[in-house]
């Protein structure tokens, strides 16, 4: 072999060495330097994560009766990213789910544009559909049948405003920070207790991480975390009492609708009403009714647009609204507050009297204010004024509060706020209305476009003293105010959730149980007012006739009627009360919209409720 060839062999060997080193260097970069990155990419490449819905917690009443439970159903979920590019899949889905192709396409594309990773096309599919979808899963990439939990209501309409309803999470919420750990198709509490206690009721989703082959088909499970059921809620509500109260409300509305407004041929409209029954000793809500009501089952599995529009329509008196926490003009039911304020500020005393001639010209001859009783009540002290609900008396109390210190303190408003008006009670329900205690500042702001109305007129305070004008209160606020009287100045926050029990059986007593505040009110003044309220249901009082058969000697009731004018609407009728006086247990407040006099049209319902509460035949 020539020298030339030997050199050439050496060159070949060098080449071999260089190539081997190049390959090894490349491997070094790939595996040692890039190993971590590639390992991450690879595991993303082959694994998929799937969540498993957790059953939502149940809701029980105070006696352990099951009100709302979760039932598992099958639902069709799609991954918009995959399905939006596959017309065949959408066509097959349209056919077997009986949804129009256009609707599916629109939903999927919109979800895809919003980067939503899961879209539920149909909930609660039947077994045949489920089997069909599972058998054809190879033809349907990005489509899966998942387990979902839907609500079942054991008592139908009952307490629907309190319980609220659940529904599929919407796009806006999905994109907000608060709902970060939710995904498309999740059921969330949209109203009522379902909304308030969403975080406790929802539980914790399970997770399955599994490997997929290149076609996305699951091969095996890598990691599995079981879902944790949501906590159960035990309410302060007594569902039997709730049923009785709702029926009483409904019956009384039907009855009042039969009545004609005196002196006219017009019937009372009574579009709605509300009742609140509190345990005065602790603020527990025993029953809370609102009419008209709705069937929460309509929302199970998704409500149709038509049905929802119907529920939202004001023509149907907005059945979704909980009137117990909406505000209305209170009328005379508010008079306990000017009464207390008058006594506390020395405007009136136990023995002092005002004369009622049916009309009052204290604000000037051009501003004559009338009593509801045009013939006049004559000379009245505070007890008599409450008993007869004399407007002239309270005009003067209001006027006195206004005149004191030139209204620099807005005393009437101050006492209204002490009794809890103008701000939410803090009950565990969403969308509670704070009502309105109007004052100078409010008026200035409210009428800023009509400067001539921004002035605070003496008549504003005077009207407010009899629950007219701009003053708005909720039935729940009124109930709380009356329970403050019953408790001699202790204010309890009303609440609905008594206990929360997690899936392991741990109880969380609701902290609101002992959540009271001493308002430091004068017990003597309260007793004077209470005397007047006891007389309301006694012979000669504004609600006397209704309670004539009631064993008031055993179960004395303190009550106050209210009839609020709210033109052009008919009058709002109120009755606020508590019993038994001396050892108060219950506060019962009811309101009927456009139903005339509280004394004659609301108190019969209250009487019935007390009969039920005290089990009197």
């Amino acid at each position: 072999m020539g020298l030339n060839i030997k050199i050439r062999f050496r060159i070949v060997l060098y080449l071999l060495a260089i190539l081997a080193i190049v390959l090894m260097l490349r491997l070094y970069f790939l595996q040692i330097m890039g190993g971590g990155l590639y390992a991450e990419l690879a595991s993303e490449n082959i694994s998929r994560e799937k969540t498993v819905s957790a059953p939502r917690g149940n809701i029980y009443d105070r006696n352990g009766k099951l009100l709302v439970k979760s039932i598992p159903v099958k639902a069709v979920a799609v991954e918009p990213l995959i399905v939006s590019e596959d017309e065949d899949v959408m066509r097959i889905l349209s056919e077997c789910l009986n949804i129009s192709y256009e609707e599916i396409k629109e939903k999927v594309e919109q979800s895809n544009l919003s980067y939503i990773d899961r879209l539920i096309l149909k909930q609660d599919i039947d077994t045949a559909t489920m089997i069909y979808l599972k058998e054809n899963s190879s033809k349907l990439p990005g489509v899966e049948v998942i387990d979902l939990y839907l609500r079942e209501y054991n008592f139908g309409f009952l307490a629907s405003h309190l319980l609220g309803y659940t529904g599929e999470i919407d796009k806006k919420r999905l994109q907000s920070e608060t709902y970060m750990d939710y995904e498309g198709g999740d059921q969330i509490g949209l109203t009522g207790l379902e909304e308030t206690y969403e975080n406790l009721l929802r539980g914790k989703k399970g997770k399955i991480i599994y490997e997929v082959d290149p076609l996305g088909r699951p091969v095996n499970i890598l990691e599995e975390t079981d879902p944790i059921s949501g906590s159960d809620l035990y309410l302060t509500i007594d569902i039997d009492l709730q049923r009785f109260v709702e029926e009483a409300l409904y019956q009384s509305i039907l009855e009042v609708r039969q009545k004609k407004i005196s002196g006219t041929d017009e019937n009372y409209k009574v579009p709605g009403g509300a009742v609140v029954v509190l345990d005065s000793r602790n603020g527990q809500v025993l029953a809370m009714a609102s009419y008209p009501t709705y069937n929460p089952e309509l929302f199970v599995g998704g409500i149709s647009e038509d049905e929802y529009a119907e529920l939202k329509d004001p023509e149907n008196n907005s059945p979704l609204l909980n009137r117990a926490i909406m505000s209305f003009p209170p009328g005379s039911a508010i008079k306990i507050v000017p009464a207390y304020g008058g006594l506390a500020e020395g405007i009136i005393s136990e023995r002092s009297t005002f004369y009622c001639a049916g009309a009052w010209t204290g604000l000037g001859e051009n501003f004559i204010k009338y009593c509801w009783n045009r013939s006049g009540h004559g000379s009245l002290n505070i007890r008599g004024a409450i008993k007869n609900s004399c407007d002239i008396y309270f005009y003067q109390v209001g006027y006195g509060l206004l005149l004191k210190n030139d209204n620099s303190e807005e005393l009437l408003q101050k006492y209204l706020r002490i009794f809890g008006f103008g701000s939410v009670t803090g009950i565990d329900l969403p969308s509670e209305d704070p009502g309105l205690v109007p004052d100078k500042e409010w008026k200035k702001d409210y009428f800023k476009d009509q400067p001539e109305y921004t002035v605070w007129f003496p008549g504003d305070t005077v009207n407010m003293a009899i629950g007219q004008g701009y003053l708005l209160v909720t039935p729940l606020q009124l109930a709380q105010a009356y329970s403050i009287l019953a408790n001699r100045g202790l204010e309890y926050k009303p609440y609905l959730a008594e206990e929360i029990k997690d899936s392991e059986g741990n109880l969380f007593p609701d902290s609101s149980e002992d959540d009271y505040q001493d308002l430091n009110l004068d017990e003597n003044f309260i007793e004077i007012i209470e005397d007047g309220m006891v007389q309301v249901v006694s012979p000669g009082g504004t609600a006397a006739s209704v309670f004539s058969d009631f064993p008031l000697d055993i179960y004395p009731i303190a009550g106050k009627t209210g009839t609020a004018e709210s033109p052009p609407k008919q009058d709002y009728a109120w009755f606020a009360s508590y019993a038994p006086v001396g050892n108060t247990q219950y506060v019962v407040v009811a309101m009927l919209e456009e139903a005339g006099s509280g004394g004659s049209n609301v108190s019969p319902m209250i009487e019935k409720i007390y009969r039920y509460l005290f089990t009197i035949d």
């Binding site: 030339n4 060839i5 050439r8 062999f9 070949v12 060997l13 491997l27 595996q31 690879a42 082959i46």
Partner: protein
């Protein structure tokens, strides 16, 4: 005098060598080791994914074992024939090679767009794998024949004839079309020219002509854009493209990269075992190795293959005649080019062309032709002429 003492030392060495069994154990055992390792890796790659719709998880492993056994038998059988006899019948081998490559064009069936398989009913074979070895034998015979005539310089005529023969093989494989294998044929030819001592001018002009031909073929549309795209994917290594041609490479790089230093463990390469890497038991078997035994294992495989290649060239350079030298070098070039291109392709530094990794990829034709090649190298070693010690002494003295 110094020269003399040196030659006496050599005298002693050769005397000792005479008594040894003349068999290159390093080559044989490394080939056996790497092929057995291949069987294991193939089992790992196929037992879950069952490519081709087979139902037996051990199907590919068993087949590879059978081929390995066959390869060993062929290896042993070849050793009984002196390679010089093979040299004498080079024209017969040329005929068989050409015939099989023509036959596959006529009777073959297509896999992945290349008509490179013949179904013999009991098994399928890929003639282009065997013809690689045949071409090396033929070219070695032709080149050495010219050389044995007392012509000191390699003439133009000699280069032209060997080029023509090589071209015949390359064109037949291109017709299938199997560009990857054709490329190997070409590289082996250039390699043989190089070690045969051909003038660089000849080598450079052949390379130039080939490049020209390639651009002509590209312009004339003989090479399609998608083929070119696939070939050039590796030039954009940082584009983690999941689309089209990039998919294979992306998945292969994920597999190998995620193996890290020590790998995920044999049978535990999810990326490859779940078929994310296509052709993971054949062309992309190195992805499985990279993923399952990591950097250390991959380096070891490269080193073993490197030593095997080195043994081929070592035996070539120590052979007793030109034919033997060219034959062993040719086999070395086959293994070298396939190893570098195949591994390079799985790690993104070589174009993606479908050629098997010697001794490791699943497939009978590849494994058996490799054993045939190694058998010939071993044969060159066994049957080499040991010069008589007195001859050497005489030469040195002279």
């Amino acid at each position: 005098m110094i020269k003399r003492i040196k030659s006496l030392r050599e005298f002693g060495n050769l005397d000792r060598e005479k008594r040894k069994i003349r068999f290159d154990f390093i080559l044989f055992f490394l080939v056996l080791a790497i092929s057995s390792w291949g069987v294991l890796v193939i089992y790992s790659a196929t037992r879950e994914t069952l490519p081709g719709g087979v139902s037996d998880p051990e199907y590919y492993m068993k087949k590879q074992l059978i081929w390995l056994g066959t390869g060993i038998i062929i290896f042993i059988a070849i050793q009984f024939i002196n390679y010089r006899k093979i040299q004498r019948y080079w024209w017969l081998i040329l005929a068989v090679g050409i015939f099989s490559l023509v036959a596959v064009l006529l009777f073959g069936y297509e896999v992945h767009g290349s008509k490179s398989w013949i179904d013999l009913k009991f098994t399928t074979i890929q003639p282009s794998e065997f013809s690689k070895i045949f071409m090396v034998i033929v070219l070695s015979a032709v080149m050495s024949k010219w050389r044995s005539e007392k012509v000191s310089n390699i003439t133009f005529k000699k280069v032209a004839i060997s080029s023509f023969m090589a071209l015949t093989f390359v064109v037949l494989v291109l017709l299938e079309p199997d560009y990857g294998t054709a490329l190997i044929y070409f590289i082996v030819f250039i390699g043989l020219l190089f070690v045969s001592g051909a003038n660089f001018l000849y080598i450079l002009s052949i390379l130039g002509l080939t490049a020209g031909g390639f651009f002509l073929a590209l312009n004339a549309g003989f090479i399609k854009q998608y083929q070119l795209d696939r070939i050039l994917t590796f030039l954009k290594p940082d584009v983690l493209s999941m689309e089209g041609a990039g998919y294979n490479l992306y998945q292969s790089k994920l597999a190998i990269g995620s193996g890290g230093l020590l790998g995920k463990g044999l049978f535990l390469g999810r990326q490859t075992n779940l078929s994310y890497v296509p052709e993971h038991h054949t062309d992309f078997i190195f992805s499985v190795i990279g993923e399952e035994v990591g950097f250390i294992g991959a380096i070891l495989v490269i080193l073993i293959l490197g030593v095997i290649i080195w043994r081929c060239f070592y035996i070539a350079s120590n052979s007793s005649d030109t034919f033997a030298m060219l034959l062993a070098s040719g086999i070395g070039f086959i293994i070298l080019s396939q190893v570098v291109i195949n591994i390079g392709m799985t790690i993104g530094i070589m174009p993606i062309i479908g050629i098997p990794l010697p001794f490791l990829s699943s497939g009978g034709s590849s494994l058996i032709s490799m054993f045939l090649g190694i058998a010939l190298v071993e044969n060159v070693y066994i049957w080499r002429e040991v010069r008589k010690s007195h001859e050497i002494a005489y030469q040195e003295f002279k």
